[in-house]
Symmetry: C2
Subunit: 405 residues, 2 copies
Amino acid sequence: MTDVPAAKPLGPLAGLVVVDMSQMLAAPLSAMLLADFGATVIKVEPPQGDSSRRAGWTIDGTSAWWRLFGRNKYSVTLDLKQAKARAVMLRLLDDADVLIENMRPGKLEQLGLGPEVLHARNPGLVLLRVTGWGQTGPYKDKPAFGTQAEAMSGFAHGNGYPDSPPTLPTFPLADTVTGYLGAYAVMTALWHRDHSAEKRGQVVDLSLFESLFGFLGPQAAIFDRLGLVYEREGNRSPVSVPRGIYHTRDDRWVAISCATEPVVQRAFTAMGRPELFRDPRYSTRAARRERIDEVDALMQEWIGRHDLADVMEKFGAADATVAPVNTIREILQDEHFIARGLVTDAPAADSAPVKMHDVFPRLSETPGSVRWSGRPLGADNDLWLGQKLGLSRAEIDELRRDQAI
Amino acid sequence: MTDVPAAKPLGPLAGLVVVDMSQMLAAPLSAMLLADFGATVIKVEPPQGDSSRRAGWTIDGTSAWWRLFGRNKYSVTLDLKQAKARAVMLRLLDDADVLIENMRPGKLEQLGLGPEVLHARNPGLVLLRVTGWGQTGPYKDKPAFGTQAEAMSGFAHGNGYPDSPPTLPTFPLADTVTGYLGAYAVMTALWHRDHSAEKRGQVVDLSLFESLFGFLGPQAAIFDRLGLVYEREGNRSPVSVPRGIYHTRDDRWVAISCATEPVVQRAFTAMGRPELFRDPRYSTRAARRERIDEVDALMQEWIGRHDLADVMEKFGAADATVAPVNTIREILQDEHFIARGLVTDAPAADSAPVKMHDVFPRLSETPGSVRWSGRPLGADNDLWLGQKLGLSRAEIDELRRDQAI
């Protein structure tokens, strides 16, 4: 196993420098997205490491989440409670375009690393500050995890079945959407900086709750004007009727969604029942929603008499939308996903190559790339403190002796 | 009701020009995010309108989704099957930074608007091309809706309960995550363009499936190295134990997530049972997961004896993470969200102001803004074709007579 970071950062963001001092999971995902597209991302962790290194399933002793979200980043340790580590941090930030942090509001300032201090040294710095509830308001000091945003945003109330409890997602939805939005917001602030005369950075106040709330669509308008809330209705949807997951004869599940009227017509045709679409009981979305139990029973009856491959073939021939319910097992064997290079092998310094999704979307001229998996803790201290910042061997040894790195 | 677009686009992307010819729902969301942050976005629709104008719940005859995703955009109609409309489109694109489209692969080329044609006229143009399956590969010509990506990505298999069918989300998850990723990717391509000597744009190949697959985390590594797939387990989580939604004495639901060991300790303390954290049956995540039925029963038993307000107060005092399961009804009354200005009123030309989430995240110096709700079809034809492109009244009348606009 070789130490991996020799690959030159390529991609559209080559040249952008990001210091990521955030942990678990939203803000580190923003930093990962920037790294994926070629930014140089220096992950600064306390000497005990980002807690996401220990979250969930582990591969060779390190979290699978860390191996993914740490990809393409350098790992540098700094104990920011020590003045000498903070001095190193300030020097790293002098040459950075972006700082990403997710401490509770005010903590960065307590460390002497608040926006005023940083902008006095580096006016172009963009600070992405990620919290549960935002930098202001009555809840700003409350602890927060994604689950709370998922519960409080309306997501959980609307997910699951009418007779089940509200249902949380199995993956960290609030964190991932926040991570995506954060990467975008950073780029907008950089665009402004680079296209303005003053070339100034600014502070981006990103909250888990607001990110997820915005992600869920027009809840506010629908409630305000129609008095409706998002309710649990299993696999049904008010937009697409029928929409469901049905059980096939060979014990598989298949998803069907009829979001437009031509698709409804094609689905009925695929089932050998084109006349249904001319029947006023089924010829409009409103009529079908009125009789949704009946429509779902009709779909299930036909699908239950056919194998998955047969359903796929008949719906495919009618150009109707249909999909098998996959797990990762089926995905990895699918000819289309193989042809697209969906999954790639990320070299790791402390494990065999780790399979993970490649960088999406694909850019025709400057595609992103997976250069390495999440690094061992502090693996790049010598590179960044020594070669890049120019600290002497003795200075680095002293930092190490004082457990400042 | 006044016609609204007089507000000057402010925000970090002021000056950026985007032509959005996409429909329903992912790609228009990318365009909305760009518009939210100040880009000038010209939505080009066929004369019959984007089909999302008719999707789902309607407010004064127009979809709530359209009123949200169309916000801050201008509406121009062009029948691109007609040569004279295509000529107008080419002129719009000559001055644009970004084109957003989501036809099936090859269709843009068939219209004579492929990347070669457009880059010959405007080398700096960034093309965001959104499809279900990508521009290449065996599935590229298949129809696609978000539901299919949700079924095929592993999301549905892992969402819901062990004894329920795989469960789709109630909101268009695949579309929204793709929309977010698209906005980010556009910004990376623009950053590259503006920081390179050649100032060239490129094509961004964004698929619903890949966007959602990447969003779901380290599925590939966990399967490849541990042989595990994401399974449905209701509100439980392998990362956070316990994690659940429990029923209170006053018939509300409350979400609790113990993602780190200190939080477990605080939760047991809040319940007046600090000794549990010292009990080897409960003192590690692995041990608790082993006895998860017992742990969940213990949580439910205590919570079932307390009202929601009481649970919130006791967990809050212990600094443990807790959250009520809200609908939009509770959200709109919450003092924190009111203080943050979560929801704003978007002026509409054809309705009373429409409530919708404000622009997130908040930028300290150049915040985004909601200037207007989705516009009536073709409301800005005169502005863009006349004032901006300089077509004469007679030319516009001719386009209208030929139903080219």
